[in-house]
């Protein structure tokens, strides 16, 4: 029997975060499609917001999974999320307008299969493992897709693999200058993976609180979003990239101040820390 040890009781139940995360993230990624409809590139930043929403949901999932003691450290869950997520996301981009939905379905199937293997073949015997790995794969796929949409303003395979360079004023197509060919996807992969590994790993402990952990997740997400906004200058119009950068910096500044506030609140409350309650699952 696996013992469940909760870091803290959640004010917002995990299922609410799951529903909000999955719907919010998909809607935000789809809002970048306004780029194609209006011909502007102004709506790219919605991709980054979708990634941040997915990361907040992912932190809650990692907390739920790690309350069972997986014995290998919190970051491993983030690595499997993004390893499975990038495969699903890249295959998903081939489906044009249906890309986010396709990535979600492929990631769910792959993640559930990996969860089944870990639970039943490797004898982990953790009740939530299969669902958690499926969720984490979806989170990985949606986060990378969101960052991709933010950097390039599009989420289809043909757009990601096409790039132009200008030589003496002539525009020439070159795969080297594209999002995929330039290897920018590896940067998006790592930025997302660091952002999902860090929050729960840093905030767990006897005085863990849900709002502080999730605020740290949002802060990490916006920090990665700043870097993706800088990268987006290479792919989209300067004005649109500036809007993205501005939103990312404002979001990071707000969440960072809030996180410091919450840390100060919890630090004062740490004096009457209680032993961790062990509950039988």
């Amino acid at each position: 029997m696996t013992v469940k040890v909760e870091a803290s009781h959640d004010a917002i139940p995990h299922n609410t975060l799951l529903a909000v995360g999955i719907v919010g993230s998909i809607i935000c990624i789809y809002l970048t499609y306004l780029n194609t409809i209006t011909g502007l590139e102004l709506f790219s930043f919605f991709g980054g917001l979708g990634a941040v929403i997915a990361l907040i949901w992912g932190t809650s999932t990692i907390k739920r999974l790690c309350s069972y003691g997986i014995g290998t450290g919190v970051p491993s869950a983030g690595m499997v999320a993004f390893g499975a997520g990038i495969i699903a996301m890249l295959l998903g981009t081939k489906f044009g307008i249906a890309s986010p939905i396709a990535a979600l379905i492929i990631a769910a199937v792959a993640g559930a299969a990996f969860g089944f293997l870990a639970d039943n073949v490797l004898n982990m015997k953790i009740p939530v493992l299969m669902q958690s790995l499926a969720e984490l794969s979806i989170i990985g796929a949606l986060t990378i897709l969101g960052f991709t949409a933010m950097a390039t303003g599009d989420f289809t395979f043909s757009a990601l693999s096409a790039g132009t360079i200008s030589i003496f004023g002539f525009a020439m197509s070159s795969a080297n200058a594209s999002y995929l060919g330039g290897g920018i996807i590896a940067v998006a992969f790592m930025l997302g993976a660091i952002a999902i590994q860090h929050p729960f790993n840093a905030a767990l402990g006897p005085s863990n609180t849900q709002d502080r952990t999730l605020m740290l997740a949002a802060e990490c997400g916006f920090l990665s979003m700043i870097i993706m906004a800088v990268i987006s200058f290479a792919f989209i119009a300067v004005g649109a990239a500036l809007v993205g950068l501005l939103i990312a910096i404002i979001g990071w500044g707000y969440t960072y101040t809030q996180f410091i506030e919450l840390s100060k609140r919890d630090a004062a409350a740490w004096l009457d820390a209680k032993p961790i309650l062990e509950t039988e699952a």
């Binding site: 696996t2 013992v3 469940k4 040890v5 870091a7 790690c66 309350s67 069972y68 003691g69 997986i70 014995g71 290998t72 450290g73 919190v74 970051p75 491993s76 869950a77 690595m79 499997v80 993004f82 390893g83 499975a84 997520g85 990038i86 495969i87 699903a88 890249l90 295959l91 081939k94 489906f95 044009g96 492929i106 792959a110 299969a113 990996f114 089944f116 293997l117 870990a118 639970d119 039943n120 073949v121 490797l122 004898n123 982990m124 289809t156 395979f157 693999s161 070159s174 795969a175 080297n176 594209s178 995929l180 060919g181 330039g182 290897g183 996807i185 590896a186 992969f189 767990l204 961790i276």
Partner: protein, 285 residues
Amino acid sequence: MSAIASKPAGGAEMPVMGAAIAVVLLLAVLGIGFGLTIAGIFPMAAFYSLIGIIIGGMLVTFSVHLVPVGGAPAAMGQAPGIATGVTMLAAGAGLAGLFKGAWAAQFSYPVALGTGAIGGALLMAITCMLVNVTYVFAMGIPAASGKVNKDPLTGDTQPEYKSQGTEGHGLPFISYVGGVLGGLIGGFGGTLIYLSLYDAYLTGIPALMGTDVESVMPLIVSIAGIFAIGMFLVNAVLTAYNITGTIEGPHDPKFKRFPRAIVASAVASALSGLLALLIIVPVPF
């Protein structure tokens, strides 16, 4: 959390029901791959690539069991091994090999695979040596295994060097050898995954985009590389879940658990390999 709740080391037995379902899943994925080849959607090379990916994934999984992983206890000198998690070490060794192998991919299969294996082994050898330098000269503790009384290779006795209240410390000779062997096999496996994908994309992606190989070369290398990293991480984490925590190397009792990880890895590699290869199939969108 995990330190408090972690359960005592489980047995090495393979669950029959789970393994049976896993084998059926593996055959199903292989069947889909073969069916797509028969239907003419995949070139024959893509099916061979799928086999290569599965073998590469199984090698990666096996190699991770050889690497001495100490985790947080090793950082405090209370357990033998390198003071980090299974996933990070496996990723370090495998990706170092993969990058070197990818550099040599333009030559031939044996050269690239050999370069990848040496790259992984070199990284592990340097890491293991610096771990022991730190332990012996900075922390002032000798290398001693907590799991065996005699080193299986050198025959040196261990218990008299082991501090009370610890599970051993430092990197004994057998752990060092295990680490280098792990890097060697892991780098080989990671490079095999990369080369299999690279070969399939070399014909698949130009056909998909209706252009010649030269103009899409960056895409081929980049997509094969990022997929190889993804599969490597999936395999490394599944292995980490099998080991649960720390392992000393090939002499550790936990090493006997590797068969079930190889079954799981074969299925996981087959599934992710099939998904990765499907990217060369044109979709009407």
